[in-house]
């Protein structure tokens, strides 16, 4: 009797394999008409933030629990505008590339939609986030989804997640051991610290610039003494 009681207690106390979401966010590319003549020209290739996210998804698929799911959030308007500029259909191309890697893009058009997508309660429909990674333009104070896409050298207000907006992301949406990484430039100089203090989870970010030009997972730009920080 004692044995069965202890067995039942153990079974209750044992953690059940709960599903979690791994969120990858891809920001949008700049327009070449704005960037072509700049000294530091961005986004010669349209798919920097797409390819790196897909590659990361392939890496994560090897390590994540079978119950976990990769959720790929893509900022749509910038790809539509770049498609118009280059006379190509980049949304179709990125969907095809995602399909090959076994992930489907979920589009968002502004930061309000992103905040809604990041709102989780741990239910089966909205599982908590165990990992979040961002690929896109940023500076030390914000993520800029449409940098140099609608206005030259800047981003529009509804399309910027500024450190002052971070209180709209709840720490309860994340698991207690969630890991967050921002692969944008300069995130480790302030954004990461504000994220940790407001959202309550550590975020690794770059001190200095990140470089997507070689393809794959972005690296720290060489020669500037950059590092990763949280």
């Amino acid at each position: 009797m004692r044995f069965w009681l202890s067995f039942a207690l153990l079974a209750l106390a044992a953690p059940t394999a709960q599903a979690h979401d791994i969120v990858l966010i891809s920001g949008g590319p700049a327009l070449r008409s704005f960037e072509r003549y700049r000294t530091a020209s961005h986004d010669k290739y349209w798919g920097n933030f797409i390819d790196s996210a897909i590659l990361r998804a392939k890496e994560l698929q090897l390590t994540i629990a079978p119950t976990d799911q990769i959720v790929w959030l893509v900022f749509r308007p910038s790809y539509q505008r770049r498609s118009q500029e280059d006379q190509d259909d980049y949304l179709k191309i990125l969907e095809e590339r995602g399909l090959k890697a076994g992930i489907t893009p979920i589009y968002f058009d502004n930061k309000a939609q992103l905040f809604t997508l990041l709102r989780r309660d741990g239910s089966k429909e909205k599982p908590k986030i165990s990992r979040l990674e961002y690929f896109g333009h940023s500076n030390k104070k914000c993520w800029m989804f449409d940098y140099s896409n609608r206005v030259d050298g800047g981003a529009l207000e509804p399309l910027v997640v500024h450190v002052d907006d971070l209180d709209q992301i709840s720490g309860k949406s994340f698991t207690s051991d969630a890991e967050c990484i921002s692969y944008g430039c300069h995130s480790g100089e302030e954004f990461s610290q504000r994220w940790r203090m407001i959202v309550g989870r550590p975020m690794i970010g770059a001190v200095g610039k990140t470089d997507y030009s070689e393809g794959g997972i972005p690296k720290l730009s060489t020669g500037k003494g950059g590092t990763w920080a949280f």
Binding site: C142, D152, G153, A155, L156, E157, E189, T227, A229
Partner: protein, 205 residues
């Protein structure tokens, strides 16, 4: 006889080969035609016909030549919807700074001007520099801007500033102007960064 013929050939051939050149037509004409030789050559002043000399000669003004050779001269004089109220706008380029330039009302000075970013209106009016080879080709050009301010602002990442956005419906070119000696807004709009001062937690590379 044979010797005589050879002697004759030797003496006559050089005379034939080295005959003096034929006189040129002009020189022969001037020398042979007594009528033309009597006429003295006219001086440059006299070459101009009488009726042309009376006309006022107006050489192009240096400023006009300069304007015509500017690349910005290729922007259309007028484009899009150009009716209703307008703003005076001057293209100003600041390296690594978001935005297009300054705008002010007609009766205001540049000190009261506002720094803006602009968005063109699809199928109605693109930005003026869209007509030029490079975006900076219309630097210090002045325009009349027709349109309205957007309900949203643009983020300037270098200065951490929010910049007003003007949605362009039409414009009129007003030509080059003196540069505006005024720096764009630079004070940070967000709260002071007390978190960054603590220093980041560096990860070992």
């Amino acid at each position: 006889m044979g010797l005589l013929a050879t002697f004759v050939l030797i003496t006559l051939l050089p005379c034939l080969c080295f005959a003096p050149p034929l006189p040129l037509r002009s020189s022969s004409a001037s020398s042979t035609n007594p009528a033309t030789s009597l006429v003295t050559e006219p001086t440059p002043e006299e070459k101009v016909p009488a009726e042309e000399s009376e006309e006022e000669v107006r050489p192009p003004i240096t400023e006009k030549v300069m304007r015509a050779t500017l690349r910005a001269a290729h922007t259309p004089a007028k484009h899009g919807r150009t009716d209703g109220p307008y703003l005076i706008a001057q293209r100003t380029i600041v390296e690594d700074y978001c935005g297009w330039g300054w705008v002010r009302k007609e009766n205001q000075s540049w000190r009261q001007a506002t720094w803006i970013a602009i968005e063109g209106t699809p199928n109605l009016c693109p930005t003026p520099h869209a007509f030029l080879p490079k975006p900076e080709d219309d630097k210090n050009q002045q325009y009349r801007f027709y349109g309205e301010f957007a309900p949203y602002r643009a983020y300037e990442p270098q200065a951490d500033m929010w910049v007003d956005v003007f949605i362009l419906k039409g414009f009129m070119s007003m030509g080059p102007a003196e540069p505006i000696r005024r720096a764009p807004p630079a004070q940070a709009s967000s709260r002071p960064n007390r978190f960054a001062e603590r220093g980041a937690n560096m990860l070992k590379p």
